[in-house]
Structure formats: C-alpha cells, structure tokens
Amino acid sequence: MSVYKMLDGNAAAVEAIKMAKVKVVSAYPITPQTTIAEKLSEICANGELNAEYIRVESEHSAMSCVIGAQLTGVRAATASASVGIALMHEVLNVASGCRVPIVMPVVNRSLASPWSLWCDHQDTMAERDSGWIQMYCENVQDVFDTMIMAYRIAESPRVLTPVMVCLDGFFLSHSMQKILVPEQGEIDKFIGEYKPQNLVLDPTDPVIIDDLTGSNENTEMMYQQAVGFKNAIPEMEKVFSEFENEFGRKKSLIEGYNTNDADAVIVCLGSMSGTAKYVSDLMREQGIKVGVIKVVAFRPFPYKALREVIGNITKVAVLDRTAGLGGEGTPLWIEIKAALTDKNLLIKNYIAGLAGRDINIETIKSVYTDILAGQSSDSPVWIDCDVEHAGLIREVSINDRH
C-alpha cells in the first residue's frame, strides 16, 4: 500500500535512493542540490539508510567514489547540479564507458557564466554525449517514480548504462507536493537486490578494469554502448509497463497531451510541460486546438515514439531551456528536426526560461499564438529577450590604455 507524503523534489529523490538501499553515498553540496546531500548524510547517520556517507571535497571526487564503490559490487549514489556536473564531466564518461549503472539525480541549474543559481538545462545538455541515459521529470511524483524505474533500466544486463534523472532546480527541487510513496517491500520487489552484471573489483577473482585500449577496440566498445542505448528503449517500455501494473501510474518515453486533432503542439522537457498542459487546456476551452509533447527520455532519444505521437500535427513549437549556442537550434530542436526530417512540418525553435526566467501562462500562450500563425524562422526565437536592451546592459567605459 502506498502512502501520501509531502515531499519536495530533492526529498523525493532521497526517498528513492533510500528505498533502493544504496550502500555507499558520496555527495558534495551545490545549490539547488544541497538538501539531497544533507538529507542523505542525515539518513546515513541515523541509520534510516544502512550506508556509508563519504563527505568528499568535490563533485569530481563524488563521482569517482561512486564509481569505485559500485565497481566493488554495491549500489552507490550521488547527486549534483550545474557546475558540479560540469566538474564531473571527465568521470561521467568513465562511468558510462566502464558500464557502471549509477543512478544520479541532477538538479538542473544554469552553468556559469553568467553566474546563476536558477534552473535551466544547460548543465545536463552539456552532458548529453557523455554516455548517460537522461530522463526529465515534470513533477515531484515523477522524480520519485523515475528514480525508482531508473535503477531497473540502468542495471538491466542489456542496458548497463548510468542514468541521470533530471529535475528542475527550485521548480521541482524545492517545491513541496503531495506524492504517493509505495512500501519498502513493494520497491524491494520491483528493483531487487543489486547484482553486479559486469566487471567487479574482487580480490578473489581479479580483473583489471579500464586499462588502455587500442583504437580498434575503442570503436567496438563505443558500439557496445550504442547497443546499450538501443536496448534501453524497449527496456524502458518494459519497466514503464511493469511500473504501471504495480503502482498504477502511466509512464512513457514521450507523452502526448491533447495531441489528438491538435493544430499545434509545444514540445518541451521537465517542469514547464506542466504549465504547457494547463495552458493547452485553457486554450482548448476557447476552441483553440493545441497540445503538448513532453519528452521524458532525452537520451536515448525515442525517435519512433515521437513520430507516433506527432501523428498528423503540422505545427511544432520546440521550447527549450538551453541556448544551444552556435547551433542551428537548441539541442531538443535538433533532435525533433532530425526525427521528423522527412515530414514537411513547421518546426520552430523557442528559447525560454534561461537561468530560471519565468515560463508562465503568458509565455506558453505567446508560443502557441506564434506557432499557430505559421511563420517560419531561420533562427530560434528568444522569448522575452529584449534585443535592444541586450545591446545596452552593463555598458561600462574602459579607460584608454597607454
């Protein structure tokens, strides 16, 4: 029997880590992940979680500790955000390359510079090629559920790929919501005990892990990782359906909302999809047929599922919390464009919500209005951006140099 609890996104992630019975925790505090580190250290100290908390001196070491621990054959946990993820970058690739199935909540926050404490997806988008599965959460219930399912997906012998569960900083990490939490026994049954499926550091059965590898084998190992990602799609679908049978909440790789007969949709990631859904309901009340496509799995990107959900929709607004600097569009737009390349659709790119800039009802309405107007654009639309002001901010005079 599940019970209701009032939890914020960070606490929900901690709840999932606790119920997965990790044995080693290693985390470094960073806003807005800090309460995850605090809460994990607290439950390790008070015995709620039978695990060792390692108070490391950096995110780089946090991920390194977790890799080391999990390679001995136990589940290990960490969490981070923003520049912390950027600092981990080097070792994120070690985790995925050595096929260490770590599950890590990432509390999305903008990357420096400019310094910002608030949410956007620059941090995880910068890691989209590091060999980690990425799933984005809409609400606090989603955080808990995705974390639980992530253990199953990551540890599946046909996947063996680490997972980032991405939750929007403050919007989810610090927002209290009422969520259903299953009993420990149900989670035990769903996830099971950790059984290492691949390389293990064991003094009674030695193997040398991560030694120098030649050029040819490197290609083959990358291919094996690609196979892992390929297998992740059916594995996720399997885990989603088992989860639904067990706990009654439907999950999908790509979620369509009000998409039947829609004239236009907004495609987006994370918490803003909740706002978009609400606005699409409001607009439908006024007879404007719009919908939302929430992308849950960004890596692997579910092309097939996206095409199914798109159906006959002809106007697609891709709303991204990332600037995608130097690209034709933002990372999500590039994927959508590639997935629908053979269809003659209007696929327009919108950039919004950088560094926590509000994506409110009006923002979403303006996107719908713009996409319904049917005008194409050869570059992304920067919502709310005062282009003229951009030329004026922080204008300072620089003294003549001799």
Binding site: G73, G97, C98, R99, P157, L160, K195, P196, Q197, N198, L199, V200, D202, D205, P206, V207, I208, I209, D210, D211, T213, E217, M221, Q224, G228
Partner: protein, 101 residues
C-alpha cells in the same frame, strides 16, 4: 573471465565483459631490448643476493646449491646493468650481447 560474468552471461552462450578490461596475464619479450648482458664471475660471487634484490625486472634467482648460482631469465632481462653496478664484489660484468653465445 569474472565469476560474476560467467554466471550471468553463460546463459547467453557467449561471455562478454562490457567495457575496457584485461585478464590475460602476460609478459613481453623485453630480453630483446638487451644491448649488454650480465656475466657472473662465479669464483668471486658470495651469493649475497643484492643483484636479485635490485633487479627492476625481478629476473635474477640465486640458487645457492648450484655452481652457477646466479640465474637470469634471459627472455626478460633488459640489460640495464644494475646488478653489475650494485654487486658488492664487482663480480658481474656487462658484456656486449653479440659476444656471448
């Protein structure tokens, strides 16, 4: 192969360790690097074992019961000359490799 892998992956009829790993313990023929090789004057040797202790490749064995008590693994001796340099009785000489048999 790992026990863990065998139990899990044997069912798949194919052993497969994912990711970079090594489990074949082998030596390369570093003996071929040698330009000079140590030659022992056994009449002077006191079987102290210092040459063996300081051999970086660990290829010297002292067999006290035999007349030619200092034995080298020629497949691996790189000919660095530390044994000759360290011998307290100076009874190891480095000779050009081609001069030997």
């Amino acid at each position: 192969m790992q026990k863990q892998q065998i139990s899990v992956l044997a069912k798949q009829k194919k052993y497969n360790a994912l990711g970079p790993c090594a489990n074949i313990f082998t030596s390369i023929n570093t003996g071929s690097w040698r330009l000079e090789r140590p030659e022992v004057n056994y009449s002077e040797c006191v079987k102290c074992g210092i040459c063996a202790m300081y051999c970086p490749a660990n290829v010297i064995t002292i067999n006290k019961t035999e007349k030619e008590c200092v034995q080298f693994m020629w497949d691996y001796c790189k000919g660095c000359g530390i044994c000759a340099n360290e011998c307290p009785k100076s009874c190891i000489a480095m000779i050009e490799e081609k001069e030997g048999e």
